[in-house]
Symmetry: C2
Subunit: 155 residues, 2 copies
């Protein structure tokens, strides 16, 4: 932790270790993303759900056409058919015809599905203790940095 004798950086009030390069940050981002999904998959697995099944449940905050799910999951529509089938067979979601366009099938959570999503989200949150420990300043900064580096898509 001793102060290195580097040429003073342009900004920075308290001199710190050299700033990570963008490439290093990319690698850290890769690790963070991997870690996030590993955690998510583990939480889903406790309920005998795969990663994709968990993801889909989490997306279903409101009823949604199959097509919309395919777009959100960035996969083929035929893929969604299978996943919804399996979730449906377990009573976590159901399909309902859209009266205004009979081509469309709306997918929605059942009661049990809602409950499962609640459980998953709360367990996810409880595994991300690092998030709780951030102060207001840090939460602001994190939000800003994330949306600057990985501009979120509208949900």
């Amino acid at each position: 932790m001793t102060r290195p004798k580097l040429p003073a950086p342009p900004s920075a009030s308290p001199p710190k270790a050299p700033a990570p390069t963008p490439v290093q940050l990319m690698d850290q981002l890769a690790q963070a993303a991997a870690l996030y999904y590993r955690n998510f998959a583990a939480v889903a697995a406790e309920r005998d759900l795969t990663l994709m099944q968990g993801k889909m449940l989490s997306l279903l905050r409101r009823p949604m056409p199959m097509r919309a799910l395919a777009d959100l999951l960035a996969c083929d529509a035929s893929n969604v058919t299978g996943i919804v089938d399996r979730l449906g067979a377990r009573g976590l979601v159901r399909r309902e015809a859209d009266p205004s366009d009979r081509r469309v099938k709306m997918v929605m959570l059942t009661e049990e599905g809602e409950e499962t999503v609640r459980q998953i989200r709360s367990e996810l949150m409880s595994n991300l203790t690092g998030l709780e420990s951030l102060g207001e300043e840090d939460r602001h900064a994190f939000q800003r940095l994330l949306s600057q580096v990985l501009p979120a898509v509208s949900t």
Copy 2:
């Protein structure tokens, strides 16, 4: 952007929008992770590689036993066999016996594999323009926040 009449937050020099809640941050994190992998998968797909194949190539900075790959990818060893088989069939990696322990097979990139990894990494980087745009301060902050929220595993 007008100043809201909230009770002044404890810290903060310039008053801003209300800080995101930990739960909101979790959702944003989910989106960021999804976006990162969507990008990664797209870059890999351009070279006819799956996400996992791309990941594995990227991990092979140095020769590594199958076992180590399984640990890094957090999957079953038998899984690695298949992936390495397919990458091997395309000439991107090869297996070599470890002389010091003949049970072990070291997996390593071929020349073509090295080149592919270089290409993937550089294209990934060029898609993450947001990273390049961060100043020293922000890079520091991002690194700190990421490792606080998602403590990285040693590579």
